[in-house]
């Protein structure tokens, strides 16, 4: 028999009253807990102070690069706090989660004052009136500052209006193994200048065991999303464009687009194939497992931070960077431009303080320190004179290439357009559709998306 139950059923004895009091106390506790929960749910906000007291700024930065976290947390933020007397709360969010968490935070009204994201996300925030127009604030910068940032600023604009302030430039160039060039009878001091020459060199550099490629002559990213950027690289090299100037119609299903995709496909198919493992993500592999380090490729498209890690992982090898390439008769071009940057929440209660933080991050010294810490391309042209750039042949090469960088358009619905194109590129690369068929289908889908959002 349950002792507890026995007491519950007896008339009101002293012990019974104690139980009743306990029950009341437990109910009160439950009610208090419920109130606390509802209180917590109603709380939050963007992190800025409501009482007019201490100035607090909440910042979400994408990425979990430990070097970046240490630099921002231990050096940049304390210096800003000392200079302004503000308190900055920085949260680092994994790139894969940043969109999801920002969306949830906006829906709940708890989005931070400042957040970082890639330029591709900017247009959707603008369309939903979630971020501040920064045109007036940029106009207040000195002419020298604006000139210094001129390469990066357009990447943060939507319809000509500045919404995102890039913290770095991003870009992709070809890195090559000079030793492999020499061994194959090629001159590493005169690397290819066109994609056609690169394909010829790649055929010489490709090694096979039977029909299996054991060393790719050239590897370009071909996994989801990255293959769209690779296609864009070749499209820009052909002189083509992704969408029209108004951002309302796709333009990639052109003759240039078909030629670019034919070239991309030819890397992986046919007797002259020079690339193995279509669809494999080598870009995000650890440095020690990179194809150039493992010597399973002689040339690969890479970003600057990974190039530096590759050099560190294979210090005895002669690895070099090619300038941007073109197709014969065209202008050189590479995929790149404004990298991730900062935006100000339209609901921030202290947008002036938020802008001060962005200005501080973009000041010449801090900006160079930041890009050096993250291994990225400096956002200021003047950084070419910094020790960071002068001591790094990789950064020097990227800075020299930055005038030839072209990137994806900042239009509403671009993520869906990119995925629609990516899906069709995959079909063409796998031989399921011809280049023109794939691009036509992608363009039809893209026009629908752009039209619906336009």
């Amino acid at each position: 028999m349950d002792v507890h139950s026995t007491h519950a059923c007896t008339p009101r004895t002293p012990r019974g009253r104690r139980h009743a009091r306990r029950a009341t106390a437990l109910l009160a506790l439950g009610a208090a807990t419920a109130l606390a929960i509802s209180g917590c749910a109603a709380g939050g906000g963007s992190g800025d102070s409501d009482d007019g007291g201490d100035k607090t700024l909440s910042v979400w930065l994408p990425g979990t690069n430990q070097a970046e976290i240490d630099l921002v947390t231990d050096t940049i933020v304390p210096a800003f706090e000392e200079e302004t007397g503000a308190e900055v709360e920085v949260t680092y969010v994994d790139w894969g989660d940043i969109s999801t968490k920002l969306n949830s935070a906006f829906a709940a009204g708890t989005a931070p004052d400042i957040f970082g994201h890639g330029p591709a996300a900017t247009a959707d925030f603008v369309a939903n009136d979630r971020i501040l127009d920064l045109d007036d604030r940029v106009a207040e910068l000195s002419q020298a500052d604006r000139d210094d940032l001129a390469t990066a600023l357009p990447g943060g604009q939507v319809d000509g209006v500045q919404y995102l302030m890039p913290l770095s430039l991003q870009g992709y160039l070809v890195m090559y193994d000079a030793d492999a060039f020499t061994a194959a009878g090629l001159d590493p001091d005169s690397p290819p200048t066109t994609w056609e020459e690169l394909k010829d060199a790649a055929e010489t550099l490709t090694e096979r065991n039977g029909s299996t490629i054991t060393r790719s002559g050239f590897l370009a990213p071909s996994q989801a999303i990255a293959r769209q950027q690779t296609f864009a690289t070749f499209l820009f090299g052909e002189g083509g464009t992704l969408v029209n100037e108004a951002g309302t119609e796709a333009e990639f299903a052109s003759a240039e687009g078909a030629d670019a995709l034919d070239f991309f496909t030819s890397l992986y198919t046919g007797d002259d194939a020079v690339s193995a493992n279509l669809g494999e993500d080598y870009l995000n592999a650890p440095a020690a497992q990179q194809p150039l380090v493992q010597q399973t490729a002689a040339m690969t498209i890479q970003a600057p931070s990974m190039m530096q890690q590759i050099v560190d992982a294979a210090p005895d090898r002669d690895l070099r960077v090619m300038p941007p390439l073109s197709f014969e008769g065209g202008d050189p071009a590479a995929f790149g431009g404004a990298g991730p940057g900062l935006m100000i929440n339209a609901d921030s209660k202290d947008p002036d303080l938020a802008w001060s933080f962005i200005e501080y991050m973009l000041s010449p010294e801090v900006s160079t320190e930041y890009t050096q810490g993250t291994g990225t391309i400096p956002v200021r042209a003047s950084a070419a004179e910094s020790d960071y750039a002068k001591n790094s042949p990789i950064i020097t090469a990227f800075l020299a290439a930055s005038p030839d960088f072209q990137t994806n358009p900042n239009v509403v619905g671009w993520v869906q357009v990119r995925d629609a194109l990516d899906k069709q590129l995959e079909r063409a690369l796998n031989g399921v559709a011809t280049s023109q068929e794939a691009l036509d289908e992608a363009a039809a889908e893209a026009d629908k998306i752009l039209g619906a959002n336009g």
Partner: protein
């Protein structure tokens, strides 16, 4: 001794040690002691409520309300970024799914995934359960080893298998040792779903085996002895004693496997991202894309409820299939 049928309040009082009222007039007509009984029951009810309240609140706030909100969203268009909130669109989201080729493909992929993992997992788990149901040296270690994959998170396991399937991974190393060419396990649309399925079978084997082992050990030994006396061999014992005895547990295992497999996401996200050529895009992965990459919460919710209905339907069919045979 049989107990008289009691009203709920009486049942509570009886279970609390009070003498149950006799069946008959006293049980249905008010008596002088009725108000007192009601007071006692009320106090008991308060205690019950207090103990149940946290769990009930948790279930209501964090499970039922979001599910109901999801159902409401499925009849709207809604982006979390939008300031205007959800806009009612009736059954448009459901109607669009009928002609959505991507959703149709995802349903087929999900169905194939369930059908190629479920039978193999159950049959292998049953074989292993039969194996470890007999005493031999190291049986405890063997059982533990088989259960380990179930303890490790699916994401972590997927990361390990991602390496094993890579060009320089374990499987290609083994192939290379025997002189065979390396395979693009996850990069070929013909093999990607099979590769994911192999990992999932390995992951689910341990937990299914433990459940079936529990089922095996609940079958009375007397039945096997009686079968032996009746001249039954091993196969007949398995067919007429083991399988009927295992049926309740088999129903549970099959139903739970259908529910988990039809919601496959983490392994797809880590191993293939739905590719190549959509060959591993399950419904749950498509829902993730729709909701969190394109911010289309309305259509994503509609997909989720269609999947929900299908899972219920197939689970009921599976349960009826097994239980019906028992009847």
């Amino acid at each position: 001794m049989t107990s008289p049928t009691l009203a709920p309040a009486d049942a509570l009082a009886a279970s609390a040690g009070a003498t149950p009222p006799p069946a008959g007039d006293d049980a249905t007509q008010p008596t002088a002691s009725a108000p007192r009984r009601r007071r006692r029951w009320s106090r008991t009810a308060i205690f019950g409520l207090v103990f149940v309240l946290p769990a009930a609140l948790y279930i209501v706030i964090f499970q039922l309300v979001p599910v109901l909100y999801g159902l409401v969203l499925s009849f709207t268009t809604y982006s979390p970024l939008s300031r205007s909130g959800p806009e009612f669109t009736g059954v448009d989201n459901y109607a669009e799914l009928l002609g959505d080729a991507d959703f149709g493909n995802a349903l087929l992929v999900t169905g194939r995934y369930v059908l190629q993992v479920l039978p193999i997992t159950v049959v292998l788990a049953l074989a292993l359960a039969l194996l470890v149901n007999r005493p031999f040296k190291g049986v405890g270690l063997f059982r533990s080893a088989l259960y380990v994959p179930h303890i490790v998170s699916l994401t972590a396991v997927s990361m390990v298998w991602l390496w094993m399937y890579s060009q320089t991974g374990l499987f290609n190393e083994v192939l290379g040792f025997f002189g065979a060419a390396p395979q693009n396990w996850l990069l070929d649309s013909d093999s990607a779903l099979n590769a994911v399925s192999a990992m999932r079978i390995w992951k689910a084997l341990g937990s299914n085996m433990v459940l079936l082992l529990a089922g095996l050990q609940s079958i009375p030994r007397d039945l096997y002895e009686a079968a032996r006396v009746d001249g039954a061999g091993r196969w007949a014992s398995f067919r007429y004693v083991t399988l009927p005895g295992l049926r309740p547990m088999l129903v549970y295992v099959v139903a739970m496997d259908i529910i988990y497999l039809a919601q496959g996401f983490a392994e797809i996200y880590v191993l293939t991202q739905g590719g190549p050529l959509g060959s591993t895009t399950t419904v749950n992965y498509l829902i993730y894309t729709e909701a969190f990459q394109y911010n289309q919460m309305g259509s994503a919710s509609a997909m989720a409820f269609v999947l929900f209905a299908l899972i219920i339907g197939f689970s009921v069919l599976a349960v009826r299939g097994v239980m019906g045979r028992q009847k």
